[in-house]
């Protein structure tokens, strides 16, 4: 629940999600209690990121 409140400002924003030495450039679509639903910019696919496995999220400023 805390994640949702803290990261709500990233919804509909472009961000880089770092997971296990890989970086994914995404647009965050939804913050859920245990995962983030995001659209990967390269493929256009919807990805579900497990919160427990995310190292950090980088907000891409305009």
């Amino acid at each position: 629940m805390g994640y949702q409140h803290d990261l709500g400002c990233l919804v509909n924003q472009k961000a880089i999600i770092r997971v296990d030495r890989c970086s994914y450039c995404v647009i965050i679509a939804q913050i859920c209690p245990c995962y983030i639903r995001a659209i990967e910019l390269g493929t256009g696919n919807v990805k579900y990121f497990n919160f427990d496995r995310i190292d950090y999220i980088e907000d891409l400023l305009p």
């Binding site: 629940m1 949702q4 409140h5 990261l7 709500g8 400002c9 990233l10 919804v11 509909n12 997971v19 296990d20 030495r21 890989c22 994914y24 679509a29 939804q30 913050i31 859920c32 209690p33 245990c34 995962y35 639903r37 990967e40 390269g42 493929t43 256009g44 696919n45 919807v46 990805k47 579900y48 990121f49 497990n50 427990d52 496995r53």
Partner: protein, 151 residues
């Protein structure tokens, strides 16, 4: 670049509909399944009758107490995209992908699979490159990629 298919052409959005709105009449919103409520997406395909806490949108309730989700515009921090109800766990998200192609990322590796069942701790999937059944530990999954159908 997807390992399942080249990323050529347009892709379709996955249709999700019929979510229950706690606001009544405002359409689908994130997280409408509380204790004792049967998730209509999940009952046909797995035993994910949502227990536990009600999932809420990204806004604190004191900030946006009674308004429907989406108020404030698409760029608002409080616009938690509500076309898909928010699952309480990654397992709920996986349940929606049953019988669909997906790419599961685990520990730096990724595998193109078709998810065939979701258990409490494992996802049962078929690796269609090798035709072998694989069980993924839900706690070890980095991410699940929904491979959308393409034109």
């Amino acid at each position: 670049m997807s390992c399942c298919k080249k990323n050529l052409g347009n892709y379709y959005a996955r249709p999700y509909g019929g979510a229950v709105s706690p606001y009544g009449g405002y359409g689908p919103v994130a997280g409408a399944f509380g204790p004792g409520t049967v998730n209509p997406y999940l009952t046909d395909k797995c035993d994910c009758v949502a227990p536990g806490p009600i999932c809420v949108d990204s806004c604190p309730s004191d900030f946006l107490p009674k308004e429907p989700i989406g108020v404030g515009g698409i760029s608002s921090p409080c616009y938690n995209n509500s076309d898909v109800p928010c699952g309480c766990t990654l397992r709920d998200a996986a349940c929606r992908l049953i019988n669909q192609r997906a790419i599961i990322h685990v520990e730096g590796c990724k595998m193109c699979v078709i998810i065939i069942a979701v258990g409490k701790c494992f996802i049962k999937a078929v690796n269609y490159a090798t035709n072998k059944v694989v069980y993924f530990n839900l706690n070890r999954i980095n991410s699940i990629e929904d491979v959308l159908p393409r034109c």
